[in-house]
Structures are given as C-alpha cells and as structure tokens.
Symmetry: D3
Subunit: 208 residues, 6 copies
C-alpha cells in the first residue's frame, strides 16, 4: 500500500506543484505592484507566521486631536491579506474621542468590544442612520457611505472593524480638506464654509 | 436554399429564444429590486427607445446655492443602464458655480465641453490633484475619492461625466453633513468644525 | 438664502429620490431571491435598527458534540449584510472544544478575544499552517481552504470572524460526510475510511 | 452520545436553515429575472435531477445552412447553471460543416471529441490564430474575440465547449447582419460589402 | 493645538504611508503587465498631469476608407485609466462616414455632440435596435453586442463614448475578417460570403 | 482605394498597437505573479500553439491508491488560461476507481464521455445530491461544495470537467488531512475520527 500511495503522492505533487501558489498570495512589497495588489512572495518562503498578525495586542493609547488611535491591518502592514479581499482595523477611543467622518472603497462591519459609542452613516439622500451601541453589538456601514463613531461613554472604548477589501482606503473628510495641500480658497468654495472657519481648520492641522 | 435557411432559422430561434433576455436587462421599477439592480422589463416590450436617453438635450440653467445644475442619467431615470455597469451625468455651471466636494461608489471620467473649470480629487494621503481644464480635456477621478469641480472662467461651463456603475451614488459632503437629519452636535464632533459654523451651514440648507 | 437652498434641495431630492435605494439593500426574505442575494426591503421602511445586530451580546454556552457554540451573523439573520459582501460569526469554545475542519466560499479573518486557541488551514499541497494564538491575534484563512480552530487553553475561549461574503457558506467536513443523507458505502469509498469508522461516525451524528 | 448529537444537529440546523439557499440558485423562469440571472427555485423543491443535464445524449444531425447542429446548455435550458457563472454547448459538424464566425460575452474552451477541425480566433490587431485540432485537443478563445470552427476532416466531427458565464450569449456575425431586421442599406454601409452581396446574403437567410 | 495636530499627523501618515498606493495605479508600460492591467507607476512620481488627458482637443479629420477618425483614450495612451475600469474614445465622422460594425469586451455609452447619426446594435436574436440621434442624445450598447454608427446628416459629426473597462478592445468586423492574416478561403467558409466578394474586400484593405 | 486603406490601416494600427496586449495574457511563469495570475508573455512571441493544449490526448492509466488519473489543465500547465477565468481537467477512472471527496474555489461542470459513474455533491445543510450518469450526461457542482465521483460501471470511465477559474484549486479532503504535515492529534480532534483510524489513514499516505 505504501508504494501505491507514494506513486499517488508523486503523481499528485507533480500535477499540483505550481497550483499551490495561488491558494494565497502573500504580498511582496519589493516587487512591482499591480491594480489588484502586490506581487506574491515566493510560496516556498511563506510560513505560518505570514498568516498571523499580532499588531492588535495590548493597550493602544489615543493621542491625537480626535482622541482616537487607529491601528490599520491593511495589506501593506499585513501582507497575507493581499489578494484575499479582506482587512481589519482596531479603533481605540479616549473618553469623548471620535473617529471623524470618513469613507472607504468597501463596506465595513464594526464590533464593539469595550465601552459605549454612537456609530452611524449618512446615505445619498442625506439621511443619517446612527445608534448607541453596547458591547457585543455589530453595525454595518455600506460601501463608500460617509460614517463616523463617537465615544459617548464615561470610559475609553475599543472596537474592531473588518472591511471587504485588502486595501480599502481610509479617507477622513476633515484631513482631506484641511490637513494636506488643498488651497484654502478651493476648500472654501467646494464646502461653502466661511473663510475664517477654513483658516481655523487649517490651523488645527498645521497647514494654515 | 430558402427551405434550408428556414430550418436553420427555426433551429436557431428555438435554441436562442430565451438567451436574448440578458443581452440587456432594461430595469422595471415596478418589480422587486435586488442588490445588483432592478428586475428586467419583459424583453418583448423593449424597443429602441429604451436604449436612447434624451434628457441631456437643450439648456440647463443652474439655480441652486452651489450655482450648478446636475442632470443625472443613472439607472433610475435611464433604465437601459440597469445591469450594464455604466451611467452618465451632465454638469452645468453658472459663472463661479461649483460641484461641491463629493464621492461615488465608482470611478468617474469627466469631459469638458464648454468653458473653463478647475477639477480635482484628494487621495487618502490628503494630497490634492487639481488642474485647470480646457474644452476637450478629460480628467479621471479614482473610485470613492473625494473630488470637485469649480467654474473658474468668465462664462457658464458644461461637462459630461461617465461612471462605471449603473447607480454609482452621488454623496455631496456638505449636504450629507448639514442638509439632512444629522444633529448639529454630532456634525460638530465628527468634523471639528465650530458650533457657530455648523449652525451657519445648517441655515444655508434650511435645517437649522 | 433659505429660498435658494429650498430650491436646491427640491432639485437634489428629485434627482436622487430613487438613487438612494442601492446605497443599501436590506434583504426582504418574503420576496423572491436571486443568485446575488435577497430582494431589497422597501427603503422607506428601513430604520437604523436594520443596520445593527445584537445577537452577539452576552454569554454563549457550547453545548454540542464539538464543544463549540457558533453564532452566525450571515445575511439570513442580519439582512443588512445583503448585497454588501461581508458577514460575521462568533465562535465560543468550551475547554477542549473545537470548530471541526470546514470551509467557506470566501476568505475569513479571525480575531481572538478570550482564551488560547490553535488555528490553522491546509493548502492544496497538503501543507498545514497552524499556530497558537493569544488574545488580540488575527489569523486569515484564504478562500475555500479547509481550516479549523481548537481551544488549547485551560479556560473557555471566544473569537469573532469576518468573511467577505454576505452568505459565505459554512461546510463542516464531518457533518457533510456523516450527519446527512450520504449513504455509508459512498462515504467510505470517497474517503478511504474503514467501514467500521464510517459507522462509528454516523452513530455520533445519529444517522447510522 | 445520540442525545448530544441531536442537540448539536438541532443547533446547527437552526442556524443554517436559510443559509443553504445560496449554495445554489436553480433558476425559476416563472419569476422576475434580474441582471445576474433568474430568481431561485424554492430550495425545498430542488432535487438531484435539477443538477443533471441529459440533452447532450445521443446523435445530433446537422441540418442547417452551415452544416452544423449546436446544442446549447445555457441557464435557460439547464437552470442549475443560474448564478454559477458556467455553461456548456455541444457542436456537431457535418462533413464540411462550420460554426460561422461569432462571439460571446465570455471566454470559451473547446474540447474536440470526434473528427478533425480547424479552430481559430481573431484578435483586435486583426491577427488570426488558427490550427488543425486532433481528438483530445483543447483550444481557448479569449473573451469577446471573434472565433470559428471548420470541419476539415472526411467524417462528421463533434466538440464540446464550456464558457465562464451561465448565459454567455452566442452572436453569429452572418445571421446578426443578414437574418434579422437590419435593413440592407445599413448592412451595406457598416460592412463595405457590395449591394449585390448583401442581397445575396439576405436571400440565404430568407430576409431579402 | 499645533503640537497635538503634528502628533496626529505623524500618527496618521505612519499608518497610511503605503495605503495611498492603490487609491490609483497609473500604469507603467515599462514593467511587466498582468491580466488586470499594467503595474503601477511609482506613486511618488505621479502628478496631476497623469490624471488629465488632452488628446481629444481640437479638430480631428476623418481620413480613412470608412470616413471616420477614432481617437482612443484607452489605458495604453492614458495610463491613469489603468485598474480603474473605465475609458473613453472620440468619434469623428466625415459626411457619410461610418464606424463599421464592431464590438467590445465591455458595455459602451455614446453622447452625440455634433451632427446627426444613426446608431444601433444587434442582439443575439438578430434583432437590430437603431435610431437617429440628435445633439445631446445618449445611446447605450450592451456588453459585447455588435453595434455601429452612421453619419446621416449633411455635416460632419462628432461623438464621445465611454466604456466600462480600461482597455475594452475594439474589434471591427470588416478589418478582422479582411485586413489581417485570415486566409481568404477561411473567411469565405465562416461567413458564407462569395469567393469574389471576399477577394474584393481584401483588395479594399490591401491584403488580397 | 489602396492608398486610402493603407492610411486607414496605419491609423488603426497606431492607435491599437498596445491595446492588443490584453485580448489575452498568456502567462509567463518566469515573471513575478500577482493575485490575479501570472504576468503576460510578450504578445509579440505568442503563437497559435500557445492557445492549444494537447495534454489530454491518448490513454491515461489510473495508477494511484484511489484508482484514478487526474490530468489538470490549469493555468500553470496551460498558460493561455491565465487571466481568462476558465480551466479544464480530465478524469480517468479504473474499474472501481474514485475521485475522493474534494472542493474547488470555483464551480465545476462535468461531462461523462466513457463508462458509468455516480457523481454527487453535498450542500451546507448536509444534503447529498448524487446520481448515476450515462455517457453524454452533464452534472454541475456549485462553487466550493464538497463533491466526488465513483466509477460504478464494469469498465474504465473517463470524464472531462471545466471550472470557471484559471487556477481553481483542487483540495482533496483525505490527502489534506492525512497526506501532509498535519499532526495526527490535530487531525483526530478536528474530525472526531478515532486515534486508530487517523493512524491507519496516515499509513495509507505514508505519513504515519
């Protein structure tokens, strides 16, 4: 029987030897990147550690102007996601902290694991859907819709989100408009905000 | 020969008689809708007129607070787009008019046919890419990225855009935040805008 | 200004009044279902509660032969996922409990929130990738690959998984082969398991 | 043990009872159809026979002007293909028979099981790729490219093709131009064919 | 506040520094190409000019046997389209000019900006849908269906088309059959055209 | 006329010269591979032979422990499939031979060309759908579902399968669990099989 199985194994391994490469495509950032993601790391060098991400362990202290700490596990920091169409992020909120209004190329689902937050999204009819969530609650934010989270509890809060893209984009509206190179006069025209408010916002982000 | 071809035609028509139904799926809004679009209108009732949209004809006068007039040819108004993954819109600008910052679920390509505009988008690194366009110029706005257009010429301007979705969503940032039911205090928290500015914006849209 | 904005709003609402329907497509199981999911619930009847799932709250006691308790939040129990291509599940393990070897139509990412487990998957070259995970660790299981989780700690364990499909299928190998209507002789032939072992397995699942 | 497994089964069946519906979506042509295919037949009425197609059995005699007999197994005649993105067809050739130049929405792969044919396709640079095939040979025709098959042997020939769409379209160039309602003068203008040749072709198909 | 925002910015830029790469993937033709398009140009070298195409400016004089001038803006000439699934073309017609019958891998939408044309497509049931269009009219041609345009006015005409693919293929039926390397006898067999007509057509395209 | 057509051809070839590259993307395994497949072989070096696969010719003798001989024509052995989303395999069965229970990332359609087999699949509700097939019969196995084939006739049998992926994965349950590096104790825990049976299975595959 052992001989038979060895023959079988040899036969199987011959025909499958390359097929394995696309069971997964752990990204190799040193190679050219295409529209669908990174080129694949040599499968012979892939180990179990490539499929495990440990960057969510421990405490994450919010330390920015929004009172949040966002830990992204997108395909650039966790290359095992490359080509698989899924990714995650951890959201930590100080008391009163927020994730400002933002959007992604994909849909997102949020799971609250600590604290109490209000989460919501706005649809293209300008209707806002928002609710106070308890620990264990799940909320979904449809693809590309503006959404936000606010810590409304008396303690820090933590949530985990999953997105159905390996590199789903995180576009924060306030920083897009005020923290980069967009001129103040354009920002003003395309938002109807006042000249003074645009300058105040740019000062917050150090670009005035 | 005629007999042969009749036999052939009969044979062909028999085998193809249902296959034609998905060469196209003109939407029928009276039937239940699924995540991929409307159910199909009975193909026997489809005529050439279903495939032609005439709503872009003539003059379009900008008459809103932004100085624009947006004519959407999405699958709800032009049901031939249903299931085909493409749509269009016409943008008319008064002198000084703008299409405020907004995003879609899809990518968009713009063709300027009259006037002079500045068009641009912002990426997730807060970098703005914007440029003055002449008649005949084309600019592409990648999927889900915030983008905008401003008439910077001394005459009205007109552009046509195409999007690679039948119902690609049009989410205007200012109206999402200030023209709907989102409470002022939430709008303030998720944007860092001042209390006064949020109230001013809501007054513009009649929701203060 | 108010008049202008009212005109603008009217103009905007007219053109967008149907477009909103596919910002989301909360499933309506009472309507016919298509290959891409359920037909959409009337958007006028959708409320924030449709987007929030509370079924993961509280304790979940493992009570089956595998020592697990699987709470699926697929589109049939949480219709807001319909059409959005994402879903979740909660996995609770008794001491020594397992999620037996299984697969999905989609990829999956797991987040361990309590206890210590070994998680792993097997690729088409018969190579197993498995590892002991700590609280906070994330592991990804590529699309369609057989995978499993085992509680190897001295306490119960809990994990949450996300999958990039609204209804991603959960096909457990042991129950597929032994808990349904597959005849024992076929199960034996297609697995090479012994006659006695197949009967023993079918007794476990009450189908002998 | 039996009690435990019954509890387990009950638990499993409860949570999975609706999930089974999209393991497959056998089409029900009596329900409204969407852009992605037919609505699903009630899973409770689906049997093994739904997944087996017997229309390829036996002899198929070519009897049309092209000397072929095409048996399509698309989703309209084999509803199990609905939503699965795959379909088949059987091609029988008389001596000298041809499948005239045609195209599909999808890619196609052909397997020759009897006789000798020349098969080929033309790319968008007007380069034709064609070759004489033996029994057992496989040729692939890339998505949407014009392609054809000619029986060049001294016996009838048979091939089977698979296409990666449930309803991949079969658009025959000669019948598109000459066997339907396209006026002769338009056919002439859009092909550069002579007036006389267009009339000759329309006579072949009984539409002159 | 400035310190806070600097900390925030540093934190944000760190976590996002690579994520920006797939907001867009401007094609780099000097790198290996994959099935989904070109590899991405180094994002650090991308400027606004990469997103603007000026090749549609000015007059385009029809000068070929069909009386047309087709200016393609596919991803090879406008690499910003790479990976975004959209493209454009400009069609200029001499008086009496035509775009001969052709097809694409994708769907197409046409906007007439000058003159009067008849545009149409043929479905797989050999039904032609065609209509006289006025300036401003839009017509859609479903994926892979044969279609055509004819200038029927007394002046030159111009139209712009958009297609939902970055490289959607343009396969002209007459040149596919007669302007390349397809032998005359095969062209004759797969079309039922006469020997003389095939030779006449090949003479038109210089391949007799 | 010849001059005109030469001018036309020059014009056409100029504008299309790169567009041809993605009519097909024959894989080049010497270049880096991405999640969507291999990079494309230089189109200038592609010939008709690249599109024809001859590996299914002749007799195939089953010689392994399962009594089968599986000849895979996936994109690694037939690179023309690269990027086209389709592939094939030939299945030869000795008398009594089986293709053991297995799954793919894609759907599969089987055509029986010799002998008599029982083919079937199991859905996520543990319901098995299986049937005795005659020559010419077709059976479809939905995406990712466990399925199998058994030669139940008195002669060898042969079938061809097509799958809607270029590299659709072949994951055999018995070899996944027992022929690779998965430790015996894990295999036992995740299947509920007995310690003795796991060891017997591993001996069959030479891994005990």
């Amino acid at each position: 029987m052992r001989n038979l199985s060895l023959i079988f194994l040899f036969c199987l391994l011959s025909s499958l030897s390359h097929a394995i490469e696309l069971d997964f495509c752990v990204g190799d950032p040193s190679l050219p990147r295409g529209p669908e993601g990174y080129a694949c790391k040599d499968p012979a060098k892939v180990t179990t550690d490539d499929f495990v991400y440990t960057g969510f362990r421990g405490e994450k202290t919010p330390n920015n102007v929004f009172g949040n700490n966002v830990t992204l596990a997108f395909s650039d920091v966790f290359p095992a996601f490359n080509g698989l169409g899924i990714s995650m992020a951890r959201l930590d909120f100080a008391i009163g902290g927020v994730i400002p209004v933002h959007s992604h190329r994909t849909s997102e689902v949020l799971l609250l694991v600590k604290g109490t937050i209000i989460a919501g999204f706005i649809d293209t009819n300008n209707t806002a859907y928002y609710k106070r969530l308890e620990v264990g609650d799940v909320m979904v934010f449809p693809q590309a819709m503006l959404h936000f989270q606010i810590n409304v509890g008396k303690t820090p809060a933590t949530a985990f989100v999953s997105l159905n893209g390996a590199n789903p984009a995180l576009q924060l509206t306030p920083t897009s408009l005020f923290a980069g190179n967009l001129p103040a006069d354009i920002a003003q025209q395309i938002t109807l905000l006042s000249h003074e408010e645009v300058r105040r916002m740019k000062r917050i982000f150090g670009t005035a």
